[in-house]
């Protein structure tokens, strides 16, 4: 990969990192489509690479929040350990699914997630201060 392209990728990483810390998402929602659409790679490679990059961004994001006392380490540990089993199972299923099918499915999920983010932000605005109950 050329230096210019690597810089572009790193620049995209900065934007992903900001969103990741802001919304508690690991950044995969943006990294996977970036790798597929902008770097023209396959869906499987994009997913594996996104997860790999996410290790670093999630650590730094979590530590930044931890400094302000926002991380509940016990809960994160329990969810994370259970998540390890789920992640392995999910990845095995993904690797057994054709890339194009996986890509369309993922795109559909993003459309739904995007809509939910838009709707929930409006709900939050109307309920000023109270936690959204759904």
């Amino acid at each position: 990969m050329s230096v210019a392209l690597l810089l572009l990728v790193a620049g995209a990483g900065v934007i992903v990192g900001i969103f990741a810390a802001l919304f508690g998402v690991g950044g995969g929602l943006l990294m996977v489509p970036f790798i597929v659409l902008a770097l023209d790679k396959g869906q499987h490679l994009a997913e594996g690479t996104s997860l790999l990059a996410m290790i670093a961004t999630a650590i730094v994001g979590a530590l930044a929040h931890a400094r302000r006392g926002y991380v509940d380490w016990t809960s994160a540990g329990v969810a994370g350990v259970a998540g390890i089993a789920g992640a392995i199972a999910g990845a095995v299923v993904a690797l057994g699914t054709p890339g194009e099918v996986l890509r369309r499915l993922f795109g559909g999920v993003l459309v739904v997630v995007g809509l939910r983010l838009i709707l929930s932000s409006r709900v939050a605005r109307n309920r000023e201060g109270s936690a959204p109950s759904s």
Partner: protein, 128 residues
């Protein structure tokens, strides 16, 4: 440890956390996402987490999930180290910026903008 947040641990709470982690892990491994979009709303809805705490705790859980998921993809050679390093480097610079913004800002409008971005990108993947 001063940064340790109190956690009343009941059996039911542990079970719910494990279920949340499992579901997040599966969606994470399946789609290469961190699982935060699953963990955050569930922590808020099921366990009464306040939004900031849910985000922060979700990120910590994602570390473990991302390690397991990427290792599984790596067994099939489906990772690109160069791209991952470049993205991670950028992300490491961006993440603290995001956290700083979040600490002092109502992120609601940004959230809506993020939603629009995710929606458009998703549509792009479907019709590509």
């Amino acid at each position: 440890m001063t940064w340790r947040y109190r956690a009343p641990v009941s059996k039911r709470r542990v079970l719910e956390l494990a279920l949340i982690g499992l579901v997040a892990g599966i969606s994470s491994g399946l789609f290469g996402i961190g699982g935060g979009t699953v963990i955050v709303p569930l922590l808020v809805w099921r366990l009464g987490f306040e939004q900031h705490r849910a985000h922060a705790t979700s990120l910590a859980a994602i570390v473990l999930i991302a390690v397991a998921g990427s290792a599984t993809f790596a067994t099939d050679g489906e990772i690109d180290l160069e791209i991952a390093l470049a993205l991670a480097l950028g992300g490491v610079i961006g993440a603290p910026l995001g956290a700083r913004v979040m600490a002092g800002l109502d992120a609601d409008r940004l959230k809506a903008a993020f939603g629009v971005l995710v929606f458009i990108v998703g549509a792009g993947l479907v019709i590509r």
